[in-house]
Amino acid sequence: MAIPLLAQLVNVLAAFLLLIAFAMLSQRRVLTLIKLLAWQGAALATSTAIVAWSTGQTHLYYSALITVLLKVILIPWVLHRLIDRLFVRWDIETLINIPTTMLIGIGLVIFAFALATPISQMATTLTRSTLGIALASVLLSFLMMIVRQKAVPQVIGFLAMENGLFFAATSATYGMPLVVELGVALDVLVGTFIFGIFFFHIRERFDSLDIRHMEKLKED
């Protein structure tokens, strides 16, 4: 009965992921957001490793390793450095107030589950039920990007979305081919660096990382 247990473990981690997604949605402090991101990465890496273990697909180990390096260590560290240097530790203002956001978030989760359930039924994988959770966390991150008014949380939302996607890739389908995983990881890495460069440029030009300064290009 080892395999169901492992599957249960993956499910628990999936729930954890979703919980973190909600936490990020409600979190006002940037530093905490980065920590949550790192935790999410860790959960992701763990679940990847468990899937690798349970299915014996070795390339998923590489994937887990990359995740740990990239999402648990490198990116949070980079972000941390960035906000240190940019002095942007202030609290986050949101477009919609947080309780409303949470309500919408719950709605999204229900929607995602409803959408994913029929598909999960068809899947052959043991961890199929995680697909709904992955979709939910993608949508929640999306929501987070919409409601946040500052550049850094927006990027964190984006990275959380990538985490959700990775989770879908590894847990629900036992991982994509390695070429793709490598490519995606590379893109995420490069993307993060470019985001970093952008933070500096934006700050240099606008004296702030508040994206509400960037609403000049529009139709009038």
């Binding site: 959408l115 999306f142 919409i146």
Partner: protein, 678 residues
């Protein structure tokens, strides 16, 4: 038969020759000698050849050819049938005169402009030839839009002036709108089967409702090009803006291609011999035609810009052609193809006649512009003394457009009247009594045209210059150069030939009518009384002999002259004009063009949107200004433009600049689609 193996191949050669001339002007870049000396005469020679080929083709069965160009599934199809032959003859013969004129007119253009004009001009000619030859929707549209484009560039030759630019823009916009309607019409005709050759379109069996839709689209689309109301707005703007030979081409020939299209689609593609034409369409055409006729001439009467005035007359004449077409459709719709053929022939003959005399008039206006730099009639006067030859040609054009016998304009209006008088054969009481009413509008328009040309001719050529010689270029105006005169002489001769020998042209048009509708006038009637007599139906019903008429009128006039000469002395003294007891009469007191139109503005007041400024009693420099605007601007064009602006300002709210909102769009789209998928 002819010089060339087949009229179709020959016509393609001519069109290609035009294209070659167009390109050849560009090759020795910077050296405009070719364009100056040879391009236009060569173009004219090609025009004459095309006219001969077209004439020949009317008597031959239809020929077709497929070119190795075009779409993979739809190579260019070309076809030469009597209808195309007739219009090619029109194109070739009228353009020949205009090209000869252009050779003189453009002589003094700077080289760069000249090569450009020469290229656009010949591409324009070639594209018109292809419009007429096209036998599939694609080639037709390509040629049609190329025609619009090349003429657009010609219109904005003097692009430094903002008014000309906006005229060009309006022109191209409406042309494009029309082209889209035409395209849509082909789509409807196609009905989803086969390909887009005209043969396939002919063969398609349409539901009556769809046939009506197709007809209306064609009517709208081609009407936009022809300048029928309310889509005429571009015409009085664009035609005056272009250099005069181009105005002549546009007014004389290009808007006729729209008539060609209307006839091709209505009588050939939709109608064919299967009798799909409905009389209701004819009534629609008649109503629009009558409106166009009256509107055109009434607006022409209040213009003071000579070329603009002529452009409004083009609107009017398109209306007259539409009246003929409409009658033909009514008759055919009620099952009287012979009477229908008469209407069709009248319309086509007027098409040819209008091409000739309107070409001539625009050329005359061009010569005035060339030698005086004036277009405003209010400043002109007494030009007949400086440019007697131009004055003579212009007079012929003026008499022809005023539908006076024995010139050509009269013949086609006569035929249109005859068509209207066939109304007795109709069973439908209302329609039967309405047709003569349309004839009445035609009569009214004819008389108004005469009034308008009395105004034009009397004010521009007759009378005296308004300003003293040192302040006005008029007394120094020289006559048109030899090439310009040859061009005008060619078209003036056309007015006479078409006016005096209509029977042979009628035989030709009868072939066209038979090839389209399967019925025509009885050739016995046409031929039976000899070439002297124009007898459309039967000798007892109606007849007209322009030659006898002309000979007699010349004879009696000369007789009167000789008798007076013979029996009375020829003593003649010259003195100042009689001043009626007012010694202060100056030449500034002559009627101006605006003054001449004043009774019309008075009688037809509600039609115009007039802005008149009278000088006040205290004005030290009294000025009188008059602006008459087209009402269509205010109820149609501007509201449409405003509506588009409102819609776009609403849509602009989408793009607010806020990234969160953009993400939200993306999110909502995603969610909505996901909901939709479930």
């Amino acid at each position: 038969m002819g010089v060339l193996p087949s009229p179709l191949a020959g016509s393609l050669l001519v069109a290609a020759a035009w294209l070659v001339v167009a390109v050849a002007g560009l090759i020795p870049a910077g050296n405009a000698a070719f364009a100056r000396r040879f391009a236009f005469p060569l173009g004219a020679a090609a025009g004459v050849a095309l006219a001969a080929l077209g004439l020949q083709a009317v008597w031959l069965p239809a020929q077709t050819l497929t070119l190795p160009l075009g779409l993979p599934d739809l190579p260019f199809h070309v076809r030469m049938d009597p209808l195309a032959g007739f219009f090619l003859m029109l194109l070739g013969s009228v353009s020949a005169g205009i090209s000869v004129y252009a050779a003189g007119y453009f002589r003094e253009e700077p080289s760069g402009r000249l090569t450009l004009i020469s290229m656009q001009y010949h591409v324009f000619l070639a594209s018109m030839a292809f419009v007429l030859l096209a036998d599939d929707a694609y080639l037709f549209m390509v040629a049609w839009e190329t025609m619009a484009l090349s003429s657009y560039f010609l219109v904005i030759t003097d692009h430094q002036r903002p008014a000309i630019r906006s005229a060009g823009f309006l022109y191209l916009l409406i042309a494009h709108l029309g082209a889209i309607a035409i395209l849509l019409c082909f789509g409807v005709l196609h009905g989803g089967r086969g390909d887009y050759t005209f043969d396939a379109l002919r063969a398609a069996q349409l539901q009556p409702a769809w046939a009506s839709v197709a007809f209306l689209l064609a009517f709208f689309g081609f009407g936009a090009k022809a300048g029928m109301i309310p889509l005429h707005a571009w015409l009085p703007e664009a035609h005056p803006a272009a250099p005069s030979p181009v105005s002549a081409l546009m007014s004389g020939i290009m808007i006729k291609t729209a008539i060609y299209g209307m006839v091709r689609v209505t009588f050939d593609l939709i109608g064919g011999t299967s009798g799909n034409i409905r009389w209701e369409w004819g009534m629609a055409v008649l109503v629009v035609g009558a409106g166009t006729t009256l509107f055109g001439v009434l607006y022409a009467l209040v213009q003071h810009d000579l070329k603009r005035l002529l452009a409004y007359h083009s609107v009017e004449n398109i209306g007259i052609i539409l009246l003929g077409l409409g009658m033909a459709m009514v008759f055919i719709g009620f099952g009287h193809p012979a009477a229908g053929a008469l209407g069709l022939i009248a319309a086509l003959y007027h098409t040819l006649n209008h091409a000739v005399f309107k070409g001539l008039l625009f050329l005359g206006a061009g010569s005035i512009l060339h030698s005086t730099g004036m277009r405003n009639l209010n400043d002109m006067g007494g030009l007949i003394r400086g440019m007697p030859k131009t004055a003579f040609y212009f007079l012929i054009g003026a008499l022809a457009i005023s539908a006076l016998p024995p010139l050509n304009g009269f013949v086609s209006e006569w035929l249109t009247f005859q068509a209207a008088l066939q109304a007795t054969v109709l069973q439908h009481g209302v329609v039967r009594s309405l047709l003569p009413l349309f004839a009445a509008t035609l009569a009214l328009a004819g008389a108004l045209t005469a009034m308008c040309f009395v105004k034009v001719y009397g004010i521009a050529f007759l009378g005296r210059a308004r300003e003293p010689a040192h302040r006005s270029p008029l007394p120094h105006a020289g006559d048109a150069g030899p090439m310009e005169r040859y061009g005008m002489a060619w078209l003036a001769a056309g007015c006479f030939v078409l006016g005096l020998f209509p029977t042979s042209f009628l035989l030709m048009l009868n072939r066209v009518g038979v090839s389209l509708t399967g019925h025509g006038l009885s050739e016995d009637a046409l031929l039976g009384s000899g070439w002297l007599w124009l007898v459309p139906t039967a000798m007892g019903q109606a007849s007209y002999s322009p030659v006898i008429f002309f000979v007699v009128i010349v004879a009696v006039t000369l007789l009167a002259f000789l008798l007076v000469r013979r029996f009375y002395h020829g003593r003649l003294r010259f003195s100042d004009p009689w001043d009626c007891g007012y010694p202060e009469q100056t030449s500034r007191m002559q009627d101006t063009a605006d003054a001449f139109g004043q009774p019309i503005r008075h009688v037809f007041g509600p039609i115009y949107r007039t802005d008149r400024r009278l000088p006040g009693p205290e004005d030290t420099e009294p000025r009188y200004s008059l602006k008459v605007e087209d009402r269509h601007w205010y109820w149609l064009y501007l509201p449409v433009a405003r509506a588009a602006e409102i819609v776009s300002s609403k849509i602009a709210l989408l793009q607010q600049g806020r990234i969160s909102i953009y993400l939200l769009y993306s999110f909502i789209t995603l969610i909505a689609l996901l909901v939709f998928v479930r």
